[in-house]
Symmetry: C2
Subunit: 267 residues, 2 copies
Protein backbone atom coordinates (compact mmCIF):
# COMPACT_ATOMS: atom_id res chain seq x y z
CA UNK A 1 0.00 0.00 0.00
CA UNK A 2 1.70 3.18 -1.16
CA UNK A 3 1.99 5.74 1.61
CA UNK A 4 0.36 8.52 -0.29
CA UNK A 5 -3.01 6.84 0.04
CA UNK A 6 -2.90 7.30 3.73
CA UNK A 7 -3.94 10.70 4.83
CA UNK A 8 -1.09 12.91 5.85
CA UNK A 9 -2.40 16.21 7.10
CA UNK A 10 0.61 18.06 5.72
CA UNK A 11 -0.21 17.00 2.20
CA UNK A 12 -3.17 19.22 1.51
CA UNK A 13 -4.70 22.53 2.50
CA UNK A 14 -8.05 21.67 1.02
CA UNK A 15 -9.35 18.40 -0.40
CA UNK A 16 -10.03 20.38 -3.59
CA UNK A 17 -6.27 20.31 -4.19
CA UNK A 18 -6.04 16.51 -3.89
CA UNK A 19 -6.23 14.66 -7.18
CA UNK A 20 -9.15 12.36 -7.86
CA UNK A 21 -7.15 10.47 -10.48
CA UNK A 22 -4.68 7.61 -10.07
CA UNK A 23 -1.35 9.20 -9.11
CA UNK A 24 1.41 9.26 -11.72
CA UNK A 25 3.73 7.15 -9.56
CA UNK A 26 1.06 4.49 -8.98
CA UNK A 27 -1.06 4.17 -12.12
CA UNK A 28 -3.69 1.51 -12.79
CA UNK A 29 -1.64 -1.66 -13.39
CA UNK A 30 -2.21 -3.34 -16.73
CA UNK A 31 -3.18 -6.53 -14.90
CA UNK A 32 -5.52 -4.71 -12.49
CA UNK A 33 -8.37 -7.19 -13.01
CA UNK A 34 -6.13 -10.17 -12.27
CA UNK A 35 -4.66 -8.53 -9.17
CA UNK A 36 -8.13 -7.60 -7.96
CA UNK A 37 -9.29 -11.19 -8.34
CA UNK A 38 -6.34 -12.48 -6.32
CA UNK A 39 -7.00 -9.91 -3.61
CA UNK A 40 -10.66 -10.84 -3.40
CA UNK A 41 -9.78 -14.50 -2.99
CA UNK A 42 -7.32 -13.62 -0.27
CA UNK A 43 -10.00 -11.52 1.43
CA UNK A 44 -12.40 -14.49 1.39
CA UNK A 45 -9.75 -16.68 3.01
CA UNK A 46 -8.73 -14.17 5.66
CA UNK A 47 -12.33 -13.41 6.56
CA UNK A 48 -12.95 -17.10 7.13
CA UNK A 49 -10.17 -17.35 9.68
CA UNK A 50 -11.14 -14.07 11.35
CA UNK A 51 -14.64 -15.46 11.81
CA UNK A 52 -13.43 -18.81 13.10
CA UNK A 53 -11.10 -17.15 15.59
CA UNK A 54 -13.98 -15.13 17.02
CA UNK A 55 -11.67 -12.63 18.69
CA UNK A 56 -10.68 -9.52 16.75
CA UNK A 57 -12.89 -7.67 14.31
CA UNK A 58 -12.69 -5.16 11.47
CA UNK A 59 -14.68 -2.00 10.87
CA UNK A 60 -14.57 -0.49 7.39
CA UNK A 61 -16.05 2.98 7.00
CA UNK A 62 -16.97 4.40 3.61
CA UNK A 63 -17.59 8.09 3.15
CA UNK A 64 -18.07 10.03 -0.07
CA UNK A 65 -20.24 12.65 -1.67
CA UNK A 66 -23.28 11.43 -3.62
CA UNK A 67 -22.29 9.11 -6.47
CA UNK A 68 -18.82 8.81 -4.98
CA UNK A 69 -18.98 5.03 -5.31
CA UNK A 70 -19.74 3.74 -1.81
CA UNK A 71 -22.34 1.19 -2.94
CA UNK A 72 -20.23 0.05 -5.87
CA UNK A 73 -17.06 -0.34 -3.83
CA UNK A 74 -18.86 -2.43 -1.19
CA UNK A 75 -20.49 -4.62 -3.83
CA UNK A 76 -17.32 -5.20 -5.83
CA UNK A 77 -14.74 -5.57 -3.08
CA UNK A 78 -16.82 -7.81 -0.81
CA UNK A 79 -18.34 -9.90 -3.57
CA UNK A 80 -17.83 -13.53 -2.61
CA UNK A 81 -17.15 -12.98 1.06
CA UNK A 82 -19.31 -15.20 3.27
CA UNK A 83 -22.29 -12.98 4.20
CA UNK A 84 -22.40 -14.69 7.58
CA UNK A 85 -19.26 -12.82 8.62
CA UNK A 86 -20.03 -9.43 7.10
CA UNK A 87 -22.59 -6.83 8.09
CA UNK A 88 -23.27 -3.69 6.16
CA UNK A 89 -24.97 -0.83 7.99
CA UNK A 90 -26.24 2.00 5.79
CA UNK A 91 -26.80 5.24 7.62
CA UNK A 92 -29.39 7.46 5.96
CA UNK A 93 -30.73 10.78 7.15
CA UNK A 94 -31.39 10.19 10.88
CA UNK A 95 -34.90 9.21 11.91
CA UNK A 96 -36.83 11.02 14.61
CA UNK A 97 -35.91 8.27 17.08
CA UNK A 98 -32.22 8.52 16.19
CA UNK A 99 -32.28 12.29 16.61
CA UNK A 100 -33.61 11.76 20.13
CA UNK A 101 -30.24 10.21 21.00
CA UNK A 102 -26.62 11.36 20.91
CA UNK A 103 -25.11 11.18 17.43
CA UNK A 104 -23.05 8.06 18.17
CA UNK A 105 -25.99 6.03 19.46
CA UNK A 106 -27.13 4.68 16.14
CA UNK A 107 -23.65 3.73 14.92
CA UNK A 108 -22.56 2.17 18.20
CA UNK A 109 -25.30 -0.44 17.78
CA UNK A 110 -23.62 -1.58 14.56
CA UNK A 111 -20.02 -1.84 15.70
CA UNK A 112 -18.60 -5.24 14.82
CA UNK A 113 -18.91 -8.23 17.13
CA UNK A 114 -15.91 -10.52 17.61
CA UNK A 115 -14.88 -12.21 14.40
CA UNK A 116 -17.01 -9.96 12.23
CA UNK A 117 -16.35 -7.43 9.50
CA UNK A 118 -18.72 -4.48 9.78
CA UNK A 119 -19.05 -2.03 6.93
CA UNK A 120 -20.48 1.44 7.39
CA UNK A 121 -22.01 2.96 4.28
CA UNK A 122 -21.89 6.54 5.54
CA UNK A 123 -21.29 6.83 9.25
CA UNK A 124 -20.90 9.07 12.28
CA UNK A 125 -18.78 11.29 10.03
CA UNK A 126 -21.97 12.66 8.47
CA UNK A 127 -22.52 14.29 11.86
CA UNK A 128 -19.43 16.44 11.47
CA UNK A 129 -19.81 16.99 7.73
CA UNK A 130 -23.40 17.27 6.46
CA UNK A 131 -24.55 18.76 9.78
CA UNK A 132 -21.75 21.31 9.68
CA UNK A 133 -22.31 22.38 6.07
CA UNK A 134 -26.03 22.65 6.73
CA UNK A 135 -25.27 24.73 9.86
CA UNK A 136 -27.12 22.32 12.15
CA UNK A 137 -24.08 22.43 14.43
CA UNK A 138 -21.55 25.22 14.98
CA UNK A 139 -17.79 24.94 14.98
CA UNK A 140 -17.51 24.38 18.75
CA UNK A 141 -19.92 21.47 18.69
CA UNK A 142 -18.13 20.13 15.65
CA UNK A 143 -14.74 20.25 17.37
CA UNK A 144 -16.17 18.52 20.39
CA UNK A 145 -17.60 15.82 18.17
CA UNK A 146 -14.16 15.13 16.69
CA UNK A 147 -13.05 14.28 20.22
CA UNK A 148 -16.08 12.12 20.81
CA UNK A 149 -15.43 10.28 17.57
CA UNK A 150 -11.79 9.70 18.44
CA UNK A 151 -12.78 8.41 21.87
CA UNK A 152 -15.42 6.12 20.40
CA UNK A 153 -13.02 4.70 17.84
CA UNK A 154 -10.37 4.27 20.52
CA UNK A 155 -12.85 2.24 22.56
CA UNK A 156 -13.42 -0.02 19.56
CA UNK A 157 -9.66 -0.41 19.08
CA UNK A 158 -9.36 -1.43 22.71
CA UNK A 159 -11.97 -4.12 22.14
CA UNK A 160 -9.85 -5.59 19.36
CA UNK A 161 -11.48 -3.80 16.44
CA UNK A 162 -9.19 -2.63 13.66
CA UNK A 163 -10.62 0.40 11.88
CA UNK A 164 -10.18 1.45 8.26
CA UNK A 165 -11.79 4.58 6.89
CA UNK A 166 -12.04 5.30 3.19
CA UNK A 167 -12.91 8.64 1.69
CA UNK A 168 -13.80 8.06 -1.95
CA UNK A 169 -12.65 11.20 -3.68
CA UNK A 170 -14.29 12.16 -6.98
CA UNK A 171 -14.17 15.34 -9.02
CA UNK A 172 -17.14 17.60 -9.62
CA UNK A 173 -17.06 16.66 -13.29
CA UNK A 174 -17.13 12.96 -12.50
CA UNK A 175 -20.10 13.46 -10.18
CA UNK A 176 -21.90 15.25 -13.00
CA UNK A 177 -21.26 12.32 -15.35
CA UNK A 178 -22.54 9.83 -12.79
CA UNK A 179 -25.65 11.89 -12.01
CA UNK A 180 -26.41 12.05 -15.73
CA UNK A 181 -26.01 8.29 -15.97
CA UNK A 182 -28.48 7.90 -13.11
CA UNK A 183 -30.95 10.18 -14.86
CA UNK A 184 -30.71 8.43 -18.20
CA UNK A 185 -30.61 4.78 -17.05
CA UNK A 186 -34.00 3.54 -15.74
CA UNK A 187 -32.30 0.90 -13.57
CA UNK A 188 -30.43 3.73 -11.83
CA UNK A 189 -33.25 6.26 -11.36
CA UNK A 190 -33.80 5.04 -7.82
CA UNK A 191 -30.32 6.16 -6.87
CA UNK A 192 -31.02 9.76 -7.82
CA UNK A 193 -32.74 12.32 -5.68
CA UNK A 194 -33.24 15.98 -6.56
CA UNK A 195 -31.91 16.76 -3.08
CA UNK A 196 -28.49 15.57 -4.27
CA UNK A 197 -28.25 18.73 -6.38
CA UNK A 198 -28.48 20.91 -3.28
CA UNK A 199 -25.48 19.11 -1.84
CA UNK A 200 -23.64 19.52 -5.13
CA UNK A 201 -24.12 23.29 -4.98
CA UNK A 202 -22.20 23.32 -1.69
CA UNK A 203 -19.25 21.36 -3.09
CA UNK A 204 -16.47 23.53 -1.68
CA UNK A 205 -18.11 23.65 1.74
CA UNK A 206 -18.21 19.86 1.74
CA UNK A 207 -14.56 19.67 0.68
CA UNK A 208 -13.64 21.94 3.59
CA UNK A 209 -15.74 19.97 6.08
CA UNK A 210 -14.29 16.67 4.87
CA UNK A 211 -10.78 18.07 5.01
CA UNK A 212 -11.20 19.11 8.64
CA UNK A 213 -12.89 15.89 9.69
CA UNK A 214 -10.25 13.72 8.06
CA UNK A 215 -7.40 15.67 9.62
CA UNK A 216 -8.95 15.76 13.09
CA UNK A 217 -9.95 12.11 13.18
CA UNK A 218 -6.90 10.49 11.60
CA UNK A 219 -5.08 8.34 14.11
CA UNK A 220 -2.52 5.56 13.90
CA UNK A 221 -5.11 2.91 14.81
CA UNK A 222 -7.94 4.51 12.91
CA UNK A 223 -6.45 5.98 9.75
CA UNK A 224 -8.21 7.67 6.87
CA UNK A 225 -7.37 6.66 3.33
CA UNK A 226 -8.18 9.11 0.58
CA UNK A 227 -8.98 7.01 -2.47
CA UNK A 228 -8.77 8.71 -5.88
CA UNK A 229 -12.11 7.44 -7.18
CA UNK A 230 -12.83 8.85 -10.61
CA UNK A 231 -11.57 5.54 -12.01
CA UNK A 232 -13.68 2.76 -10.50
CA UNK A 233 -11.32 -0.12 -11.14
CA UNK A 234 -8.45 1.80 -9.56
CA UNK A 235 -10.66 2.67 -6.60
CA UNK A 236 -11.66 -0.96 -6.03
CA UNK A 237 -8.12 -2.21 -6.42
CA UNK A 238 -6.63 0.21 -3.92
CA UNK A 239 -9.37 -0.45 -1.37
CA UNK A 240 -8.90 -4.22 -1.72
CA UNK A 241 -5.14 -3.83 -1.29
CA UNK A 242 -5.54 -1.85 1.92
CA UNK A 243 -8.11 -4.24 3.40
CA UNK A 244 -6.15 -7.38 2.55
CA UNK A 245 -2.90 -5.94 3.85
CA UNK A 246 -4.63 -4.86 7.05
CA UNK A 247 -6.18 -8.28 7.62
CA UNK A 248 -2.82 -9.92 6.97
CA UNK A 249 -1.28 -7.75 9.66
CA UNK A 250 -4.02 -8.82 12.06
CA UNK A 251 -2.76 -12.41 11.59
CA UNK A 252 -6.01 -14.23 12.26
CA UNK A 253 -5.53 -17.84 13.40
CA UNK A 254 -7.84 -20.80 13.65
CA UNK A 255 -8.59 -21.20 17.36
CA UNK A 256 -7.16 -23.98 19.47
CA UNK A 257 -9.45 -27.01 19.75
CA UNK A 258 -11.57 -27.70 22.80
CA UNK A 259 -9.43 -29.67 25.25
CA UNK A 260 -9.81 -33.43 25.10
CA UNK A 261 -10.75 -33.44 21.43
CA UNK A 262 -8.11 -36.06 20.59
CA UNK A 263 -9.75 -38.70 22.81
CA UNK A 264 -13.18 -38.45 21.27
CA UNK A 265 -14.76 -41.34 19.38
CA UNK A 266 -18.05 -40.99 17.59
CA UNK A 267 -20.63 -43.75 17.92
CA UNK B 1 -38.77 -26.94 -8.22
CA UNK B 2 -39.90 -30.56 -7.96
CA UNK B 3 -42.85 -30.93 -5.63
CA UNK B 4 -41.32 -33.61 -3.51
CA UNK B 5 -38.94 -31.08 -1.96
CA UNK B 6 -41.82 -29.25 -0.43
CA UNK B 7 -43.03 -30.75 2.75
CA UNK B 8 -46.25 -32.66 2.43
CA UNK B 9 -47.37 -33.93 5.81
CA UNK B 10 -48.84 -37.07 4.26
CA UNK B 11 -45.50 -38.14 2.94
CA UNK B 12 -43.82 -39.25 6.13
CA UNK B 13 -44.59 -40.62 9.55
CA UNK B 14 -41.17 -39.83 10.91
CA UNK B 15 -38.33 -37.84 9.35
CA UNK B 16 -36.25 -40.99 9.84
CA UNK B 17 -38.16 -42.49 6.91
CA UNK B 18 -37.34 -39.59 4.58
CA UNK B 19 -34.30 -40.16 2.40
CA UNK B 20 -31.26 -37.97 2.85
CA UNK B 21 -30.06 -38.80 -0.66
CA UNK B 22 -31.01 -37.20 -3.98
CA UNK B 23 -34.27 -38.86 -5.05
CA UNK B 24 -34.17 -41.32 -7.94
CA UNK B 25 -36.51 -39.20 -10.06
CA UNK B 26 -34.41 -36.06 -9.54
CA UNK B 27 -30.73 -37.05 -9.37
CA UNK B 28 -27.78 -34.68 -9.35
CA UNK B 29 -27.63 -33.36 -12.91
CA UNK B 30 -24.35 -33.98 -14.73
CA UNK B 31 -24.04 -30.22 -15.29
CA UNK B 32 -24.87 -29.37 -11.67
CA UNK B 33 -21.93 -26.97 -11.34
CA UNK B 34 -22.93 -25.05 -14.45
CA UNK B 35 -26.58 -24.85 -13.41
CA UNK B 36 -25.56 -23.71 -9.93
CA UNK B 37 -23.43 -20.94 -11.40
CA UNK B 38 -26.30 -19.71 -13.55
CA UNK B 39 -28.63 -19.75 -10.54
CA UNK B 40 -26.20 -17.79 -8.43
CA UNK B 41 -25.89 -15.13 -11.12
CA UNK B 42 -29.65 -14.92 -11.35
CA UNK B 43 -29.85 -14.59 -7.58
CA UNK B 44 -27.37 -11.69 -7.65
CA UNK B 45 -29.50 -9.93 -10.28
CA UNK B 46 -32.82 -10.51 -8.53
CA UNK B 47 -31.44 -9.38 -5.19
CA UNK B 48 -30.28 -6.14 -6.75
CA UNK B 49 -33.77 -5.28 -7.96
CA UNK B 50 -35.38 -6.39 -4.70
CA UNK B 51 -33.07 -4.00 -2.88
CA UNK B 52 -33.69 -1.13 -5.29
CA UNK B 53 -37.46 -1.58 -5.04
CA UNK B 54 -37.29 -1.30 -1.25
CA UNK B 55 -40.72 -2.85 -0.78
CA UNK B 56 -40.96 -6.62 -0.32
CA UNK B 57 -38.40 -8.76 1.47
CA UNK B 58 -37.30 -12.37 1.82
CA UNK B 59 -36.63 -14.42 4.93
CA UNK B 60 -34.69 -17.66 4.49
CA UNK B 61 -34.57 -19.97 7.51
CA UNK B 62 -32.01 -22.77 7.78
CA UNK B 63 -32.45 -25.55 10.28
CA UNK B 64 -30.48 -28.78 10.61
CA UNK B 65 -28.78 -30.97 13.14
CA UNK B 66 -25.10 -30.30 13.85
CA UNK B 67 -22.96 -30.63 10.72
CA UNK B 68 -26.13 -30.59 8.62
CA UNK B 69 -24.60 -27.96 6.34
CA UNK B 70 -26.22 -24.68 7.37
CA UNK B 71 -22.98 -22.66 7.28
CA UNK B 72 -21.86 -24.24 4.04
CA UNK B 73 -25.19 -23.73 2.28
CA UNK B 74 -25.28 -20.06 3.27
CA UNK B 75 -21.69 -19.52 2.15
CA UNK B 76 -22.06 -21.29 -1.18
CA UNK B 77 -25.54 -20.18 -2.25
CA UNK B 78 -25.13 -16.52 -1.29
CA UNK B 79 -21.55 -16.14 -2.46
CA UNK B 80 -21.41 -13.10 -4.69
CA UNK B 81 -24.63 -11.49 -3.50
CA UNK B 82 -24.14 -7.86 -2.50
CA UNK B 83 -23.62 -7.99 1.29
CA UNK B 84 -25.43 -4.67 1.57
CA UNK B 85 -28.73 -6.39 0.85
CA UNK B 86 -28.22 -9.56 2.89
CA UNK B 87 -28.14 -10.06 6.64
CA UNK B 88 -27.33 -13.33 8.31
CA UNK B 89 -28.47 -13.79 11.89
CA UNK B 90 -26.99 -16.78 13.71
CA UNK B 91 -28.96 -17.89 16.73
CA UNK B 92 -26.85 -19.69 19.30
CA UNK B 93 -27.89 -20.99 22.68
CA UNK B 94 -29.94 -18.11 24.14
CA UNK B 95 -28.16 -15.64 26.43
CA UNK B 96 -29.45 -14.74 29.87
CA UNK B 97 -30.91 -11.54 28.45
CA UNK B 98 -32.68 -13.40 25.67
CA UNK B 99 -34.13 -15.89 28.12
CA UNK B 100 -35.63 -12.98 30.03
CA UNK B 101 -37.89 -12.38 27.02
CA UNK B 102 -40.45 -14.41 25.11
CA UNK B 103 -38.87 -16.84 22.67
CA UNK B 104 -39.70 -14.76 19.58
CA UNK B 105 -38.15 -11.58 20.92
CA UNK B 106 -34.63 -12.24 19.70
CA UNK B 107 -35.66 -13.36 16.22
CA UNK B 108 -38.17 -10.58 15.69
CA UNK B 109 -35.34 -8.07 15.90
CA UNK B 110 -33.75 -9.70 12.86
CA UNK B 111 -36.76 -9.95 10.57
CA UNK B 112 -35.94 -8.44 7.18
CA UNK B 113 -36.45 -4.76 6.45
CA UNK B 114 -37.97 -3.73 3.11
CA UNK B 115 -35.80 -4.75 0.17
CA UNK B 116 -33.62 -7.04 2.28
CA UNK B 117 -32.88 -10.73 2.35
CA UNK B 118 -32.52 -11.98 5.90
CA UNK B 119 -31.06 -15.39 6.57
CA UNK B 120 -31.58 -17.21 9.85
CA UNK B 121 -28.88 -19.72 10.73
CA UNK B 122 -30.98 -21.63 13.25
CA UNK B 123 -34.09 -19.79 14.34
CA UNK B 124 -37.18 -19.73 16.53
CA UNK B 125 -37.62 -23.38 15.55
CA UNK B 126 -34.93 -24.30 18.07
CA UNK B 127 -37.50 -23.29 20.66
CA UNK B 128 -39.84 -26.10 19.62
CA UNK B 129 -37.11 -28.63 18.88
CA UNK B 130 -34.04 -28.46 21.14
CA UNK B 131 -36.14 -27.20 24.05
CA UNK B 132 -38.63 -30.00 23.55
CA UNK B 133 -36.03 -32.78 23.31
CA UNK B 134 -34.27 -31.43 26.34
CA UNK B 135 -37.61 -31.29 28.19
CA UNK B 136 -37.33 -27.56 28.89
CA UNK B 137 -40.89 -27.22 27.63
CA UNK B 138 -43.75 -29.73 27.71
CA UNK B 139 -46.04 -30.70 24.85
CA UNK B 140 -48.72 -28.10 25.68
CA UNK B 141 -46.24 -25.26 25.62
CA UNK B 142 -44.79 -26.68 22.44
CA UNK B 143 -48.19 -26.79 20.74
CA UNK B 144 -48.90 -23.26 21.80
CA UNK B 145 -45.56 -22.17 20.38
CA UNK B 146 -46.46 -23.63 16.98
CA UNK B 147 -49.42 -21.24 16.95
CA UNK B 148 -47.24 -18.34 18.03
CA UNK B 149 -44.76 -19.15 15.28
CA UNK B 150 -47.49 -19.34 12.65
CA UNK B 151 -48.91 -16.02 13.83
CA UNK B 152 -45.48 -14.41 13.79
CA UNK B 153 -44.72 -15.66 10.30
CA UNK B 154 -48.17 -14.56 9.12
CA UNK B 155 -47.42 -11.07 10.40
CA UNK B 156 -44.21 -11.04 8.36
CA UNK B 157 -46.11 -12.22 5.28
CA UNK B 158 -48.57 -9.38 5.75
CA UNK B 159 -45.68 -6.93 5.80
CA UNK B 160 -44.55 -8.20 2.38
CA UNK B 161 -42.04 -10.75 3.57
CA UNK B 162 -41.85 -13.99 1.65
CA UNK B 163 -40.64 -16.85 3.84
CA UNK B 164 -38.67 -19.94 2.85
CA UNK B 165 -37.67 -22.55 5.39
CA UNK B 166 -35.10 -25.23 4.66
CA UNK B 167 -34.54 -28.29 6.75
CA UNK B 168 -31.19 -29.79 5.71
CA UNK B 169 -31.67 -33.50 6.14
CA UNK B 170 -28.58 -35.68 6.70
CA UNK B 171 -28.22 -39.28 7.80
CA UNK B 172 -26.63 -40.35 11.04
CA UNK B 173 -23.76 -41.90 9.08
CA UNK B 174 -23.13 -38.69 7.20
CA UNK B 175 -23.06 -36.73 10.45
CA UNK B 176 -20.47 -39.16 11.79
CA UNK B 177 -18.30 -38.65 8.73
CA UNK B 178 -18.53 -34.87 9.06
CA UNK B 179 -17.78 -34.93 12.79
CA UNK B 180 -14.71 -37.04 12.09
CA UNK B 181 -13.60 -34.55 9.44
CA UNK B 182 -13.96 -31.77 12.00
CA UNK B 183 -11.89 -33.72 14.49
CA UNK B 184 -9.09 -34.51 12.06
CA UNK B 185 -8.84 -31.18 10.20
CA UNK B 186 -7.24 -28.42 12.34
CA UNK B 187 -9.04 -25.70 10.33
CA UNK B 188 -12.34 -27.32 11.34
CA UNK B 189 -11.68 -28.02 15.03
CA UNK B 190 -13.48 -24.82 15.98
CA UNK B 191 -16.71 -26.17 14.53
CA UNK B 192 -16.73 -29.16 16.87
CA UNK B 193 -17.97 -29.21 20.41
CA UNK B 194 -18.17 -32.27 22.63
CA UNK B 195 -21.74 -31.17 23.42
CA UNK B 196 -22.66 -32.06 19.83
CA UNK B 197 -22.30 -35.72 20.80
CA UNK B 198 -25.06 -35.39 23.40
CA UNK B 199 -27.40 -34.16 20.71
CA UNK B 200 -26.34 -37.01 18.45
CA UNK B 201 -27.33 -39.53 21.12
CA UNK B 202 -30.87 -38.18 20.96
CA UNK B 203 -31.12 -38.52 17.19
CA UNK B 204 -34.55 -40.14 17.03
CA UNK B 205 -36.02 -37.65 19.50
CA UNK B 206 -34.74 -34.85 17.29
CA UNK B 207 -36.23 -36.50 14.21
CA UNK B 208 -39.59 -36.69 15.95
CA UNK B 209 -39.44 -33.09 17.18
CA UNK B 210 -38.44 -31.85 13.72
CA UNK B 211 -41.19 -33.89 12.11
CA UNK B 212 -43.84 -32.33 14.35
CA UNK B 213 -42.51 -28.80 14.00
CA UNK B 214 -42.33 -29.03 10.22
CA UNK B 215 -45.85 -30.41 9.94
CA UNK B 216 -47.38 -27.92 12.33
CA UNK B 217 -45.68 -24.87 10.89
CA UNK B 218 -45.93 -25.58 7.18
CA UNK B 219 -48.21 -23.06 5.49
CA UNK B 220 -48.79 -21.96 1.91
CA UNK B 221 -46.98 -18.65 2.50
CA UNK B 222 -44.36 -20.08 4.79
CA UNK B 223 -43.49 -23.51 3.47
CA UNK B 224 -40.89 -25.95 4.69
CA UNK B 225 -38.56 -27.60 2.20
CA UNK B 226 -36.86 -30.81 3.26
CA UNK B 227 -33.54 -30.86 1.46
CA UNK B 228 -31.76 -34.21 1.10
CA UNK B 229 -28.34 -33.02 2.22
CA UNK B 230 -25.89 -35.90 2.35
CA UNK B 231 -24.64 -34.70 -1.05
CA UNK B 232 -23.51 -31.09 -0.66
CA UNK B 233 -23.65 -30.10 -4.31
CA UNK B 234 -27.17 -31.46 -4.61
CA UNK B 235 -28.17 -29.62 -1.46
CA UNK B 236 -26.81 -26.31 -2.72
CA UNK B 237 -28.36 -26.74 -6.14
CA UNK B 238 -31.85 -27.47 -4.84
CA UNK B 239 -31.73 -24.58 -2.36
CA UNK B 240 -30.58 -22.20 -5.09
CA UNK B 241 -33.37 -23.40 -7.37
CA UNK B 242 -36.03 -22.80 -4.74
CA UNK B 243 -34.71 -19.35 -3.82
CA UNK B 244 -34.36 -18.16 -7.40
CA UNK B 245 -37.78 -19.46 -8.38
CA UNK B 246 -39.32 -17.79 -5.35
CA UNK B 247 -37.67 -14.44 -6.09
CA UNK B 248 -38.80 -14.68 -9.71
CA UNK B 249 -42.37 -15.14 -8.53
CA UNK B 250 -42.01 -12.04 -6.35
CA UNK B 251 -41.34 -10.10 -9.57
CA UNK B 252 -39.21 -7.33 -8.12
CA UNK B 253 -39.18 -4.14 -10.22
CA UNK B 254 -36.96 -1.10 -10.27
CA UNK B 255 -39.00 1.66 -8.64
CA UNK B 256 -40.54 4.55 -10.55
CA UNK B 257 -38.34 7.65 -10.65
CA UNK B 258 -38.95 10.67 -8.46
CA UNK B 259 -41.42 12.94 -10.28
CA UNK B 260 -39.88 15.72 -12.33
CA UNK B 261 -36.69 13.81 -12.99
CA UNK B 262 -36.90 14.41 -16.76
CA UNK B 263 -36.62 18.19 -16.35
CA UNK B 264 -33.44 18.14 -14.33
CA UNK B 265 -30.21 19.60 -15.63
CA UNK B 266 -26.97 19.34 -13.74
CA UNK B 267 -24.70 22.35 -13.44
Amino acid sequence: MPNHHRLDSHLFQSLDSVSTLPPADSPVPTDAAAEFKVLRKELVKLQRVLYAQHSDSLLVVFQALDAGGKDGAIRKVFKGVNPQGVRVASFKRPTKLELDHDFLWRVQAHSPARGMISIFNRSHYEDVIATRVRKIIDVDVCNDRYDQINNFEHALNQHGTTILKFYLHISKDEQKRRFQERLSNPTKHWKFSAADLETRKQWSLYMAAYGDALKNCHRELSPWHIIPSDDKSYRNLVIARVIVQTLQKMRPQFPAPESGLQHITID
